[in-house]
């Protein structure tokens, strides 16, 4: 008996929603970033699942590109956090409101 595709999709949906909760409730900018990585990975799981079940390689290639974009995004995002920390000495996103007028 093989695993129905629904199980993977539900696991992926659960991880995505956990990521949303993390983004909306946490106040540490770095943890918010890690929650975004979690959401990216849940999308990757869906892509790999369909790629494997349909026997099509395009999904796995797409995951490869998502990984490279995620690496670039993490580098730039953490650089921004470092720059803000230098300026304001905090990573609490409630206190970082320099774009708010």
């Amino acid at each position: 008996m093989q695993i129905p595709i629904e199980y993977y999709l539900i696991l992926s949906a659960f991880m995505f929603t956990v990521g949303i909760v993390g983004v909306l409730t946490r106040r540490n900018a770095i943890v918010v970033f890690m929650s975004i990585e979690l959401m990216l990975n849940s999308a990757n799981l869906t892509l790999i699942t369909y790629s494997s079940y349909l026997g099509d390689v395009a999904g796995q290639l797409f995951v490869f590109f998502v990984m490279s974009v995620a690496a670039a995004e993490a580098a730039v995002g953490l650089a921004i956090i470092i720059a803000i920390y230098r300026n304001k000495l905090t990573v609490n996103i409630d206190e970082i409101n320099i774009l708010k007028w």
């Binding site: 696991l11 659960f14 956990v18 770095i30 490869f64 690496a71 580098a75 730039v76 650089a79 470092i82």
Partner: protein, 171 residues
Amino acid sequence: MTLEIVLFILFGSICAISAVLMITRPNPVISALFLVLNFCSLAGLYLILNAQFIAVAQIIVYAGAIMVFFLFVIMLLNPEKEKRFFEQKTKLRIFVIAIVALILVQIVYIIFLSSPSEVITREVARSVETGTVENIGREMFTNYILPFEAAGYLLLAATIGALVIAKKKFE
């Protein structure tokens, strides 16, 4: 109970539990370590799905490079314990969890309503052949060569951008 199902339950539950623990721990270092655990069990799930190359790349790129980078920044910035602003705002948290639970129920309902497993059945031999390094490499350097080059330029731009942003002292 085949081995596939046992492994799916094992890795899937590790994945779900570590994701929940990651967003509930107040200490960011412990959150990062649970995220590493989550990525490693995801790599196990990719192996069950016969995506060998992506599983290895997941461990090397995500669990290795990106998470080391995250831990490095966490320890460099030495952020204060989140306890202080973790316990207040209970109303906001209850509201967020209610909304998100509603979204999850909707997604699960749609998944069961459409029941893709009636249409999509996995052919194991084809699935194994799809995920090999040979197949992915051939596809990447023929049909997907342009996105591949674009990803290279993106990484170069991100490296330079990160250096410039982290170095500059702006007012």
